[in-house]
Protein backbone atom coordinates (compact mmCIF):
# COMPACT_ATOMS: atom_id res chain seq x y z
CA UNK A 1 0.00 0.00 0.00
CA UNK A 2 2.80 2.35 0.89
CA UNK A 3 4.45 1.67 -2.46
CA UNK A 4 1.20 2.52 -4.26
CA UNK A 5 0.98 5.80 -2.42
CA UNK A 6 4.49 6.73 -3.44
CA UNK A 7 3.91 5.81 -7.07
CA UNK A 8 0.86 8.08 -7.11
CA UNK A 9 2.96 11.12 -6.33
CA UNK A 10 5.51 10.13 -8.97
CA UNK A 11 5.42 9.78 -12.74
CA UNK A 12 1.85 8.50 -12.90
CA UNK A 13 0.70 11.84 -11.62
CA UNK A 14 2.44 13.71 -14.35
CA UNK A 15 1.11 11.38 -17.01
CA UNK A 16 -2.45 11.72 -15.73
CA UNK A 17 -2.23 15.44 -15.59
CA UNK A 18 -0.36 15.57 -18.91
CA UNK A 19 -2.82 17.97 -20.56
CA UNK A 20 -2.49 20.68 -17.98
CA UNK A 21 1.01 19.73 -16.96
CA UNK A 22 2.17 23.31 -17.25
CA UNK A 23 -0.34 24.53 -14.72
CA UNK A 24 -0.47 21.54 -12.43
CA UNK A 25 1.66 21.76 -9.36
CA UNK A 26 3.67 18.64 -8.69
CA UNK A 27 1.59 16.09 -6.81
CA UNK A 28 -1.75 17.78 -7.32
CA UNK A 29 -3.33 14.53 -8.53
CA UNK A 30 -1.97 12.79 -5.47
CA UNK A 31 -3.55 15.51 -3.43
CA UNK A 32 -6.88 15.05 -5.13
CA UNK A 33 -6.65 11.35 -4.50
CA UNK A 34 -5.69 11.82 -0.87
CA UNK A 35 -8.65 14.13 -0.51
CA UNK A 36 -10.89 11.48 -2.01
CA UNK A 37 -9.53 8.71 0.20
CA UNK A 38 -9.65 10.80 3.38
CA UNK A 39 -12.86 12.77 2.97
CA UNK A 40 -14.71 10.49 0.57
CA UNK A 41 -15.86 7.68 2.90
CA UNK A 42 -17.04 9.90 5.76
CA UNK A 43 -18.64 12.37 3.39
CA UNK A 44 -20.53 9.67 1.49
CA UNK A 45 -21.64 8.12 4.77
CA UNK A 46 -23.09 11.42 5.93
CA UNK A 47 -24.76 12.09 2.59
CA UNK A 48 -26.49 8.70 2.57
CA UNK A 49 -27.37 8.37 6.25
CA UNK A 50 -27.86 12.00 7.23
CA UNK A 51 -28.64 14.27 4.29
CA UNK A 52 -30.86 11.80 2.48
CA UNK A 53 -32.92 10.89 5.59
CA UNK A 54 -33.41 14.59 6.38
CA UNK A 55 -34.40 15.27 2.78
CA UNK A 56 -36.93 12.43 3.07
CA UNK A 57 -38.44 13.96 6.21
CA UNK A 58 -38.70 17.33 4.50
CA UNK A 59 -40.13 15.75 1.36
CA UNK A 60 -42.75 13.75 3.28
CA UNK A 61 -44.38 16.94 4.55
CA UNK A 62 -45.83 17.58 1.08
CA UNK A 63 -47.60 14.22 0.71
CA UNK A 64 -50.59 12.41 2.16
CA UNK A 65 -50.31 9.44 4.45
CA UNK A 66 -50.81 6.01 3.02
CA UNK A 67 -53.72 4.00 4.32
CA UNK A 68 -51.47 1.54 6.13
CA UNK A 69 -48.75 3.98 7.03
CA UNK A 70 -45.99 5.09 4.69
CA UNK A 71 -46.61 7.68 2.02
CA UNK A 72 -49.28 7.76 -0.71
CA UNK A 73 -47.24 9.34 -3.47
CA UNK A 74 -49.99 8.62 -6.00
CA UNK A 75 -52.35 11.06 -4.25
CA UNK A 76 -50.17 14.02 -5.25
CA UNK A 77 -48.85 16.90 -3.17
CA UNK A 78 -50.82 18.75 -0.51
CA UNK A 79 -50.41 21.58 1.97
CA UNK A 80 -52.83 20.01 4.48
CA UNK A 81 -50.11 18.73 6.78
CA UNK A 82 -48.93 22.25 7.52
CA UNK A 83 -52.51 23.45 8.02
CA UNK A 84 -53.05 20.78 10.68
CA UNK A 85 -50.41 22.30 12.91
CA UNK A 86 -52.79 25.21 13.53
CA UNK A 87 -55.40 22.77 14.91
CA UNK A 88 -55.92 23.90 18.55
CA UNK A 89 -55.06 20.41 19.78
CA UNK A 90 -51.65 20.38 18.13
CA UNK A 91 -50.98 24.09 18.53
CA UNK A 92 -51.67 23.53 22.23
CA UNK A 93 -49.08 20.78 22.38
CA UNK A 94 -46.57 23.02 20.64
CA UNK A 95 -47.12 25.95 23.03
CA UNK A 96 -47.03 23.56 26.02
CA UNK A 97 -43.72 22.17 24.78
CA UNK A 98 -42.29 25.64 24.28
CA UNK A 99 -43.43 26.65 27.76
CA UNK A 100 -42.01 23.56 29.47
CA UNK A 101 -38.70 23.76 27.58
CA UNK A 102 -38.60 27.51 28.29
CA UNK A 103 -39.18 27.11 32.04
CA UNK A 104 -36.54 24.36 32.12
CA UNK A 105 -34.05 26.62 30.34
CA UNK A 106 -34.69 29.58 32.66
CA UNK A 107 -34.29 27.37 35.74
CA UNK A 108 -31.13 25.82 34.31
CA UNK A 109 -29.71 29.29 33.73
CA UNK A 110 -30.73 30.46 37.21
CA UNK A 111 -29.00 27.49 38.82
CA UNK A 112 -26.23 27.07 36.24
CA UNK A 113 -24.87 30.62 36.14
CA UNK A 114 -24.09 30.95 39.85
CA UNK A 115 -22.73 27.41 39.81
CA UNK A 116 -20.41 28.10 36.89
CA UNK A 117 -19.40 31.38 38.51
CA UNK A 118 -18.59 29.64 41.78
CA UNK A 119 -16.45 27.09 39.91
CA UNK A 120 -14.38 29.80 38.22
CA UNK A 121 -13.56 31.19 41.67
CA UNK A 122 -12.03 27.91 42.85
CA UNK A 123 -8.35 27.08 42.67
CA UNK A 124 -7.21 25.33 39.47
CA UNK A 125 -7.05 21.94 41.15
CA UNK A 126 -10.52 22.08 42.63
CA UNK A 127 -11.94 23.53 39.42
CA UNK A 128 -11.27 20.26 37.55
CA UNK A 129 -12.81 18.22 40.34
CA UNK A 130 -15.85 20.50 40.49
CA UNK A 131 -16.36 20.30 36.73
CA UNK A 132 -16.02 16.52 36.63
CA UNK A 133 -18.59 16.28 39.43
CA UNK A 134 -21.02 18.42 37.42
CA UNK A 135 -20.54 16.38 34.25
CA UNK A 136 -20.39 12.90 35.79
CA UNK A 137 -24.15 12.29 36.07
CA UNK A 138 -24.51 13.37 32.46
CA UNK A 139 -22.49 10.35 31.38
CA UNK A 140 -24.84 7.90 33.01
CA UNK A 141 -27.77 6.31 31.29
CA UNK A 142 -30.47 8.84 30.51
CA UNK A 143 -33.29 6.42 31.34
CA UNK A 144 -31.69 5.58 34.67
CA UNK A 145 -31.47 9.27 35.52
CA UNK A 146 -35.13 9.73 34.68
CA UNK A 147 -36.13 6.60 36.56
CA UNK A 148 -34.39 7.89 39.69
CA UNK A 149 -36.95 10.68 39.84
CA UNK A 150 -39.79 8.14 39.78
CA UNK A 151 -38.27 6.55 42.88
CA UNK A 152 -38.04 9.99 44.50
CA UNK A 153 -41.35 11.52 43.49
CA UNK A 154 -43.94 8.72 43.32
CA UNK A 155 -46.76 8.71 45.88
CA UNK A 156 -44.95 6.04 47.94
CA UNK A 157 -41.64 7.53 46.95
CA UNK A 158 -38.80 8.77 49.08
CA UNK A 159 -39.84 12.45 49.12
CA UNK A 160 -43.41 11.71 50.12
CA UNK A 161 -42.26 9.33 52.85
CA UNK A 162 -39.94 11.97 54.21
CA UNK A 163 -42.67 14.62 54.11
CA UNK A 164 -45.25 12.46 55.88
CA UNK A 165 -42.56 11.23 58.25
CA UNK A 166 -41.73 14.69 59.54
CA UNK A 167 -45.40 15.64 59.52
CA UNK A 168 -45.44 18.28 56.81
CA UNK A 169 -48.42 16.54 55.25
CA UNK A 170 -50.59 13.63 56.36
CA UNK A 171 -51.40 12.43 52.85
CA UNK A 172 -48.84 11.86 50.09
CA UNK A 173 -48.61 14.79 47.70
CA UNK A 174 -49.08 14.36 44.00
CA UNK A 175 -45.55 15.00 42.76
CA UNK A 176 -45.09 12.48 39.97
CA UNK A 177 -47.09 12.75 36.74
CA UNK A 178 -47.22 16.53 36.86
CA UNK A 179 -45.77 19.22 34.66
CA UNK A 180 -43.46 20.12 37.52
CA UNK A 181 -42.03 16.58 37.50
CA UNK A 182 -41.37 16.89 33.76
CA UNK A 183 -39.53 20.19 34.28
CA UNK A 184 -37.44 18.69 37.08
CA UNK A 185 -36.62 15.64 34.96
CA UNK A 186 -35.52 17.78 32.00
CA UNK A 187 -33.55 20.10 34.26
CA UNK A 188 -31.81 17.10 35.79
CA UNK A 189 -31.02 15.68 32.38
CA UNK A 190 -29.57 18.82 30.81
CA UNK A 191 -28.19 21.04 33.60
CA UNK A 192 -24.55 20.07 32.84
CA UNK A 193 -25.05 21.30 29.27
CA UNK A 194 -25.81 24.74 30.72
CA UNK A 195 -22.95 24.83 33.21
CA UNK A 196 -20.16 23.89 30.78
CA UNK A 197 -20.48 26.70 28.19
CA UNK A 198 -21.17 29.19 31.01
CA UNK A 199 -18.03 28.09 32.80
CA UNK A 200 -16.00 28.49 29.60
CA UNK A 201 -17.44 31.96 29.01
CA UNK A 202 -17.02 33.25 32.58
CA UNK A 203 -13.53 31.81 32.82
CA UNK A 204 -12.49 33.74 29.71
CA UNK A 205 -13.57 37.14 31.09
CA UNK A 206 -10.50 39.29 31.67
CA UNK A 207 -10.29 39.96 35.42
CA UNK A 208 -8.66 43.31 34.74
CA UNK A 209 -11.94 44.53 33.25
CA UNK A 210 -13.69 43.71 36.52
CA UNK A 211 -10.97 45.49 38.48
CA UNK A 212 -11.25 48.48 36.17
CA UNK A 213 -15.00 48.57 36.67
CA UNK A 214 -14.76 48.56 40.46
CA UNK A 215 -11.88 51.06 40.38
CA UNK A 216 -14.18 53.36 38.49
CA UNK A 217 -16.61 53.09 41.36
CA UNK A 218 -19.10 50.47 40.14
CA UNK A 219 -20.70 48.29 42.76
CA UNK A 220 -20.41 44.52 42.24
CA UNK A 221 -23.98 44.33 40.93
CA UNK A 222 -23.29 47.09 38.41
CA UNK A 223 -20.03 45.43 37.35
CA UNK A 224 -21.88 42.20 36.83
CA UNK A 225 -24.65 43.76 34.74
CA UNK A 226 -22.45 46.01 32.61
CA UNK A 227 -19.28 43.93 32.27
CA UNK A 228 -19.57 40.26 33.17
CA UNK A 229 -23.02 39.56 31.78
CA UNK A 230 -22.53 41.19 28.35
CA UNK A 231 -19.18 39.47 27.93
CA UNK A 232 -20.62 36.08 28.82
CA UNK A 233 -23.77 36.48 26.72
CA UNK A 234 -22.57 34.12 23.96
CA UNK A 235 -21.99 31.45 26.63
CA UNK A 236 -25.43 32.12 28.08
CA UNK A 237 -27.03 31.66 24.67
CA UNK A 238 -25.02 28.52 23.91
CA UNK A 239 -26.12 27.04 27.23
CA UNK A 240 -29.73 28.00 26.55
CA UNK A 241 -29.64 26.35 23.11
CA UNK A 242 -28.00 23.22 24.58
CA UNK A 243 -30.80 22.93 27.17
CA UNK A 244 -33.78 24.21 25.22
CA UNK A 245 -33.36 22.12 22.05
CA UNK A 246 -33.11 18.64 23.61
CA UNK A 247 -35.81 19.55 26.16
CA UNK A 248 -38.18 20.53 23.36
CA UNK A 249 -37.68 17.29 21.44
CA UNK A 250 -37.63 14.97 24.46
CA UNK A 251 -40.38 12.36 24.66
CA UNK A 252 -39.02 10.05 27.35
CA UNK A 253 -39.24 12.44 30.30
CA UNK A 254 -42.80 13.62 29.54
CA UNK A 255 -43.86 10.00 29.15
CA UNK A 256 -42.18 8.58 32.26
CA UNK A 257 -42.54 11.56 34.61
CA UNK A 258 -45.58 13.23 33.03
CA UNK A 259 -47.50 9.98 32.84
CA UNK A 260 -49.19 10.74 29.52
CA UNK A 261 -50.84 13.86 30.96
CA UNK A 262 -48.08 16.10 29.73
CA UNK A 263 -47.71 15.56 26.02
CA UNK A 264 -44.87 17.38 24.32
CA UNK A 265 -44.04 17.71 20.65
CA UNK A 266 -41.54 14.83 20.92
CA UNK A 267 -44.32 12.48 22.08
CA UNK A 268 -46.46 13.67 19.19
CA UNK A 269 -43.73 12.96 16.63
CA UNK A 270 -43.08 9.56 18.15
CA UNK A 271 -46.81 8.71 18.00
CA UNK A 272 -47.17 9.89 14.41
CA UNK A 273 -44.31 7.66 13.32
CA UNK A 274 -44.82 4.57 15.46
CA UNK A 275 -48.52 4.44 16.43
CA UNK A 276 -50.72 6.67 14.27
CA UNK A 277 -48.46 5.98 11.28
CA UNK A 278 -49.06 9.46 9.87
CA UNK A 279 -45.54 10.11 8.65
CA UNK A 280 -46.28 13.33 6.74
CA UNK A 281 -47.71 15.06 9.79
CA UNK A 282 -44.96 13.67 11.99
CA UNK A 283 -42.46 15.16 9.54
CA UNK A 284 -44.16 18.56 9.74
CA UNK A 285 -43.78 18.48 13.52
CA UNK A 286 -40.13 17.48 13.20
CA UNK A 287 -39.63 20.36 10.78
CA UNK A 288 -41.17 22.75 13.32
CA UNK A 289 -38.66 21.45 15.87
CA UNK A 290 -35.80 22.12 13.45
CA UNK A 291 -37.14 25.60 12.69
CA UNK A 292 -36.81 26.51 16.38
CA UNK A 293 -33.31 25.08 16.40
CA UNK A 294 -32.27 27.16 13.38
CA UNK A 295 -33.78 30.34 14.86
CA UNK A 296 -31.92 29.78 18.12
CA UNK A 297 -28.62 29.05 16.39
CA UNK A 298 -29.02 32.24 14.37
CA UNK A 299 -29.69 34.27 17.51
CA UNK A 300 -26.63 32.69 19.10
CA UNK A 301 -24.40 33.42 16.11
CA UNK A 302 -25.67 37.02 16.06
CA UNK A 303 -24.89 37.51 19.76
CA UNK A 304 -21.48 35.91 19.39
CA UNK A 305 -20.72 38.19 16.45
CA UNK A 306 -21.84 41.27 18.40
CA UNK A 307 -19.69 40.63 21.45
CA UNK A 308 -16.87 39.45 19.22
CA UNK A 309 -16.76 42.70 17.27
CA UNK A 310 -16.93 44.80 20.40
CA UNK A 311 -13.67 43.45 21.73
Amino acid sequence: MAAGGRAGAGPVTRRLKGVSAARARVGSAARTRARLVLIGPGFSYLVVLLVLPLALVIGYTAFRRGRFGGIAYEDGVTGDNFARIADPLYAGVLTDSLRIAGITTVLALALGYPTAYAITRLTARWRTVALVLVVLPFWTNFLVRTYAWIVLLSSEGVVNRALTGIGVTDRPLRLLYTEGAVVVGLLYAYLPLMVLPLYAAIERVDRRLLDASSDLGARPARTFCSVTLPLTLPGVLTGCVFVFVPSLGNFVVPELLGGGRTVMVGNLIRDQFLTARDWPFGSVLALALMAFLVLLLMAQAWAGHRTGSRR
Binding site: M1, A2, A3, G4, G5, R6, A30, R35, V37, L38, I39, P41, G42, F43, Y45, L46, L49, L50, P53, L56, V57, Y60, L111, G112, P114, T115, Y117, A118, R121, A130, V132, V135, P137, W139, N141, F142, L143, Y147, A148, I150, V151, L152, E156, G157, Y188, L191, V195, P246, L248, G249, F251, L256, I269, F273, G282, S283, A286, L289, M290, L293
Partner: protein, 286 residues
Protein backbone atom coordinates in the same frame (compact mmCIF):
# COMPACT_ATOMS: atom_id res chain seq x y z
CA UNK B 1 7.31 64.11 44.98
CA UNK B 2 5.94 64.12 41.51
CA UNK B 3 2.63 62.62 40.77
CA UNK B 4 2.37 60.57 37.64
CA UNK B 5 0.69 63.05 35.33
CA UNK B 6 -2.64 62.28 33.74
CA UNK B 7 -4.08 63.58 30.53
CA UNK B 8 -4.45 67.38 30.57
CA UNK B 9 -2.61 67.52 33.85
CA UNK B 10 -5.39 65.84 35.79
CA UNK B 11 -4.04 63.75 38.62
CA UNK B 12 -4.51 60.05 38.17
CA UNK B 13 -5.68 58.13 41.16
CA UNK B 14 -2.75 56.19 42.44
CA UNK B 15 -2.84 52.43 42.36
CA UNK B 16 -2.14 52.42 46.09
CA UNK B 17 -5.90 52.47 46.58
CA UNK B 18 -5.88 48.74 45.76
CA UNK B 19 -5.45 47.41 49.30
CA UNK B 20 -8.85 48.87 50.15
CA UNK B 21 -10.34 46.12 48.02
CA UNK B 22 -8.45 43.40 49.84
CA UNK B 23 -10.52 40.40 50.68
CA UNK B 24 -12.07 40.44 54.13
CA UNK B 25 -10.61 37.90 56.50
CA UNK B 26 -11.87 35.58 59.19
CA UNK B 27 -15.52 34.95 59.82
CA UNK B 28 -16.75 37.39 57.18
CA UNK B 29 -14.62 35.73 54.52
CA UNK B 30 -15.81 32.31 55.56
CA UNK B 31 -19.44 33.40 55.36
CA UNK B 32 -18.93 35.13 52.02
CA UNK B 33 -17.21 32.02 50.65
CA UNK B 34 -20.08 29.88 51.84
CA UNK B 35 -22.70 32.11 50.25
CA UNK B 36 -20.75 32.24 46.97
CA UNK B 37 -20.32 28.47 47.03
CA UNK B 38 -23.96 27.84 47.91
CA UNK B 39 -25.15 27.44 44.29
CA UNK B 40 -22.45 24.83 43.77
CA UNK B 41 -23.59 22.81 46.78
CA UNK B 42 -27.22 23.16 45.70
CA UNK B 43 -26.31 21.85 42.25
CA UNK B 44 -24.44 18.89 43.70
CA UNK B 45 -27.33 18.15 46.05
CA UNK B 46 -29.70 18.22 43.08
CA UNK B 47 -27.42 16.09 40.89
CA UNK B 48 -26.46 13.43 43.42
CA UNK B 49 -29.52 12.90 45.64
CA UNK B 50 -31.29 10.78 42.99
CA UNK B 51 -28.12 8.78 42.36
CA UNK B 52 -27.55 8.05 46.05
CA UNK B 53 -31.19 7.10 46.64
CA UNK B 54 -31.19 4.83 43.62
CA UNK B 55 -28.04 3.00 44.70
CA UNK B 56 -29.29 2.67 48.28
CA UNK B 57 -32.63 1.28 47.11
CA UNK B 58 -30.91 -1.39 45.01
CA UNK B 59 -29.66 -3.10 48.19
CA UNK B 60 -33.21 -3.59 49.28
CA UNK B 61 -34.96 -6.76 50.30
CA UNK B 62 -38.52 -5.56 49.78
CA UNK B 63 -40.63 -6.10 46.67
CA UNK B 64 -41.16 -2.38 46.17
CA UNK B 65 -38.49 -0.19 44.60
CA UNK B 66 -39.52 2.64 46.95
CA UNK B 67 -39.91 0.95 50.29
CA UNK B 68 -37.01 -0.05 52.48
CA UNK B 69 -37.29 -3.67 53.65
CA UNK B 70 -33.82 -4.27 55.03
CA UNK B 71 -30.45 -4.79 53.43
CA UNK B 72 -30.10 -7.49 50.82
CA UNK B 73 -28.39 -8.15 47.51
CA UNK B 74 -31.10 -10.47 46.21
CA UNK B 75 -32.09 -8.22 43.32
CA UNK B 76 -28.61 -8.44 41.85
CA UNK B 77 -29.11 -12.20 41.70
CA UNK B 78 -32.43 -11.73 39.93
CA UNK B 79 -30.72 -9.35 37.53
CA UNK B 80 -27.90 -11.78 36.76
CA UNK B 81 -30.46 -14.45 35.85
CA UNK B 82 -32.66 -12.17 33.72
CA UNK B 83 -32.27 -13.43 30.15
CA UNK B 84 -33.85 -10.38 28.59
CA UNK B 85 -31.40 -8.05 30.32
CA UNK B 86 -28.45 -10.24 29.37
CA UNK B 87 -29.55 -10.38 25.73
CA UNK B 88 -30.05 -6.63 25.72
CA UNK B 89 -26.59 -6.18 27.16
CA UNK B 90 -25.04 -8.41 24.49
CA UNK B 91 -26.89 -6.51 21.75
CA UNK B 92 -25.77 -3.16 23.14
CA UNK B 93 -22.15 -4.25 23.31
CA UNK B 94 -22.24 -5.48 19.70
CA UNK B 95 -23.78 -2.21 18.50
CA UNK B 96 -21.45 -0.02 20.56
CA UNK B 97 -18.32 -1.91 19.48
CA UNK B 98 -19.30 -1.87 15.81
CA UNK B 99 -20.34 1.77 15.81
CA UNK B 100 -17.14 2.72 17.63
CA UNK B 101 -14.88 0.98 15.10
CA UNK B 102 -16.75 2.35 12.09
CA UNK B 103 -17.01 5.90 13.51
CA UNK B 104 -13.37 5.95 14.52
CA UNK B 105 -12.10 4.92 11.09
CA UNK B 106 -14.41 7.20 9.10
CA UNK B 107 -14.15 10.09 11.57
CA UNK B 108 -10.35 10.05 11.78
CA UNK B 109 -9.97 10.00 7.99
CA UNK B 110 -12.53 12.79 7.67
CA UNK B 111 -10.86 14.91 10.34
CA UNK B 112 -7.44 14.62 8.70
CA UNK B 113 -8.96 15.25 5.27
CA UNK B 114 -10.88 18.31 6.45
CA UNK B 115 -7.88 19.76 8.24
CA UNK B 116 -5.55 19.23 5.30
CA UNK B 117 -7.63 19.69 2.21
CA UNK B 118 -10.86 21.43 3.06
CA UNK B 119 -10.16 23.63 6.03
CA UNK B 120 -12.29 26.42 4.65
CA UNK B 121 -15.15 24.36 3.28
CA UNK B 122 -18.07 25.55 5.36
CA UNK B 123 -20.38 22.99 3.81
CA UNK B 124 -18.20 20.05 4.83
CA UNK B 125 -17.67 21.54 8.26
CA UNK B 126 -21.41 22.07 8.78
CA UNK B 127 -22.12 18.55 7.57
CA UNK B 128 -19.60 17.04 9.97
CA UNK B 129 -21.01 18.77 13.07
CA UNK B 130 -24.68 18.45 12.10
CA UNK B 131 -25.41 15.05 13.68
CA UNK B 132 -24.18 16.36 17.03
CA UNK B 133 -26.49 19.40 16.91
CA UNK B 134 -29.58 17.79 15.44
CA UNK B 135 -32.32 16.73 17.92
CA UNK B 136 -32.01 12.96 18.24
CA UNK B 137 -35.67 12.39 17.43
CA UNK B 138 -35.29 14.10 14.05
CA UNK B 139 -32.32 11.91 13.14
CA UNK B 140 -34.27 8.88 14.42
CA UNK B 141 -37.36 9.43 12.24
CA UNK B 142 -35.18 10.36 9.25
CA UNK B 143 -33.29 7.08 9.52
CA UNK B 144 -36.51 5.13 10.03
CA UNK B 145 -37.89 6.75 6.88
CA UNK B 146 -34.67 5.97 5.02
CA UNK B 147 -34.59 2.32 6.09
CA UNK B 148 -38.20 1.91 5.10
CA UNK B 149 -37.56 3.54 1.71
CA UNK B 150 -34.75 1.12 0.87
CA UNK B 151 -36.82 -1.71 2.43
CA UNK B 152 -34.03 -2.60 4.83
CA UNK B 153 -34.91 -4.99 7.61
CA UNK B 154 -34.43 -3.52 11.07
CA UNK B 155 -32.04 -5.25 13.42
CA UNK B 156 -28.78 -4.64 15.18
CA UNK B 157 -27.11 -3.55 11.94
CA UNK B 158 -29.61 -0.70 11.47
CA UNK B 159 -28.87 0.62 14.98
CA UNK B 160 -25.14 0.24 14.42
CA UNK B 161 -25.27 2.26 11.19
CA UNK B 162 -27.49 4.87 12.88
CA UNK B 163 -25.16 5.28 15.85
CA UNK B 164 -22.23 5.71 13.47
CA UNK B 165 -23.88 8.87 12.10
CA UNK B 166 -23.44 10.77 15.37
CA UNK B 167 -20.34 8.79 16.37
CA UNK B 168 -18.60 9.91 13.20
CA UNK B 169 -19.38 13.55 14.03
CA UNK B 170 -17.94 13.27 17.55
CA UNK B 171 -14.76 11.49 16.45
CA UNK B 172 -14.23 14.08 13.70
CA UNK B 173 -14.64 16.95 16.17
CA UNK B 174 -12.31 15.45 18.79
CA UNK B 175 -9.59 14.49 16.29
CA UNK B 176 -9.78 17.90 14.60
CA UNK B 177 -9.08 19.61 17.92
CA UNK B 178 -6.07 17.35 18.32
CA UNK B 179 -4.84 18.25 14.81
CA UNK B 180 -5.30 21.96 15.54
CA UNK B 181 -2.98 21.63 18.53
CA UNK B 182 -0.52 19.38 16.71
CA UNK B 183 2.71 20.13 14.87
CA UNK B 184 2.51 19.85 11.05
CA UNK B 185 6.29 20.09 10.68
CA UNK B 186 6.66 16.44 11.74
CA UNK B 187 4.71 15.30 8.69
CA UNK B 188 6.71 17.62 6.47
CA UNK B 189 9.93 16.18 7.88
CA UNK B 190 8.68 12.67 7.20
CA UNK B 191 7.92 13.54 3.58
CA UNK B 192 11.20 15.38 3.15
CA UNK B 193 12.98 12.25 4.33
CA UNK B 194 11.36 10.34 1.52
CA UNK B 195 8.35 8.67 3.14
CA UNK B 196 5.26 8.42 0.94
CA UNK B 197 1.84 9.78 1.77
CA UNK B 198 0.58 6.49 3.14
CA UNK B 199 3.54 5.63 5.30
CA UNK B 200 3.67 9.20 6.60
CA UNK B 201 0.00 8.88 7.51
CA UNK B 202 0.47 5.52 9.23
CA UNK B 203 3.77 6.23 10.97
CA UNK B 204 3.63 9.91 11.78
CA UNK B 205 0.10 11.31 11.52
CA UNK B 206 -1.80 8.51 13.24
CA UNK B 207 0.54 8.06 16.23
CA UNK B 208 0.46 11.81 16.78
CA UNK B 209 -3.32 11.79 16.77
CA UNK B 210 -3.65 8.64 18.88
CA UNK B 211 -4.78 10.35 22.10
CA UNK B 212 -7.51 12.19 20.18
CA UNK B 213 -8.56 9.02 18.40
CA UNK B 214 -8.75 7.05 21.66
CA UNK B 215 -10.70 9.85 23.33
CA UNK B 216 -13.10 9.99 20.38
CA UNK B 217 -13.56 6.22 20.36
CA UNK B 218 -14.29 6.14 24.11
CA UNK B 219 -16.78 8.96 23.65
CA UNK B 220 -18.64 7.10 20.89
CA UNK B 221 -18.61 3.84 22.86
CA UNK B 222 -20.15 5.49 25.95
CA UNK B 223 -22.70 7.45 23.93
CA UNK B 224 -23.74 4.36 21.98
CA UNK B 225 -24.06 2.25 25.17
CA UNK B 226 -26.56 4.73 26.59
CA UNK B 227 -28.33 5.84 23.43
CA UNK B 228 -32.06 5.22 23.56
CA UNK B 229 -34.08 7.38 21.16
CA UNK B 230 -32.40 6.46 17.88
CA UNK B 231 -32.16 2.79 18.90
CA UNK B 232 -35.86 2.84 19.83
CA UNK B 233 -36.75 3.89 16.27
CA UNK B 234 -34.23 1.81 14.33
CA UNK B 235 -33.93 -1.46 16.27
CA UNK B 236 -35.78 -4.54 15.12
CA UNK B 237 -38.45 -5.81 17.54
CA UNK B 238 -36.39 -9.00 18.06
CA UNK B 239 -33.18 -7.19 18.99
CA UNK B 240 -33.76 -4.64 21.72
CA UNK B 241 -30.64 -2.93 23.04
CA UNK B 242 -30.20 -2.58 26.80
CA UNK B 243 -31.67 0.94 27.00
CA UNK B 244 -34.78 -0.34 25.23
CA UNK B 245 -35.03 -3.19 27.74
CA UNK B 246 -34.64 -0.67 30.59
CA UNK B 247 -37.34 1.50 29.06
CA UNK B 248 -39.86 -1.32 28.90
CA UNK B 249 -38.91 -2.40 32.44
CA UNK B 250 -39.68 1.11 33.70
CA UNK B 251 -42.92 1.33 31.76
CA UNK B 252 -44.28 -2.09 32.57
CA UNK B 253 -43.79 -3.19 36.14
CA UNK B 254 -41.35 -1.39 38.35
CA UNK B 255 -39.36 -3.74 40.61
CA UNK B 256 -36.16 -3.17 42.56
CA UNK B 257 -34.43 -5.16 39.82
CA UNK B 258 -34.31 -1.88 37.85
CA UNK B 259 -32.56 -0.23 40.80
CA UNK B 260 -29.94 -2.97 40.72
CA UNK B 261 -29.52 -2.66 36.96
CA UNK B 262 -29.34 1.13 37.27
CA UNK B 263 -26.62 0.82 39.90
CA UNK B 264 -24.59 -1.49 37.68
CA UNK B 265 -24.93 0.93 34.75
CA UNK B 266 -24.00 3.89 36.95
CA UNK B 267 -20.90 2.09 38.16
CA UNK B 268 -19.84 1.19 34.63
CA UNK B 269 -20.38 4.74 33.33
CA UNK B 270 -18.56 6.35 36.24
CA UNK B 271 -15.63 3.96 35.82
CA UNK B 272 -15.36 4.57 32.07
CA UNK B 273 -15.53 8.36 32.47
CA UNK B 274 -12.91 8.44 35.19
CA UNK B 275 -10.70 6.06 33.21
CA UNK B 276 -11.09 8.28 30.14
CA UNK B 277 -10.06 11.28 32.24
CA UNK B 278 -6.96 9.45 33.43
CA UNK B 279 -6.02 8.29 29.93
CA UNK B 280 -6.37 11.77 28.45
CA UNK B 281 -4.29 13.24 31.30
CA UNK B 282 -1.56 10.63 30.75
CA UNK B 283 -1.66 11.36 27.02
CA UNK B 284 -1.33 15.08 27.70
CA UNK B 285 1.62 14.44 29.97
CA UNK B 286 3.51 12.23 27.51
Amino acid sequence: MRRPGGIAGRPVRRPRRLPARRRPTGLVAGLAGLVAGLPLWLTYLFLYTPVVVLVAMSFNRSESPYQWGGFGTGWYGTLARDDEVLRGLANTLIVAAGATVLSTVLGTLLAVGLARHANRSRLLHALSVMPAVLPDIVLAIGLLAFYSMVSATLGLHSVLLAHTVFGLAFVTAVVRTRIAHGDPSLEEASRDLGAGEVSTFLRVTLPGLAPGIVAGALLVFTLSLDEFVIAFFTAGPQDPTLPIVVYSMIRFGVTPEINALATVLLTVSFTVVIAAQRISRLAEAS
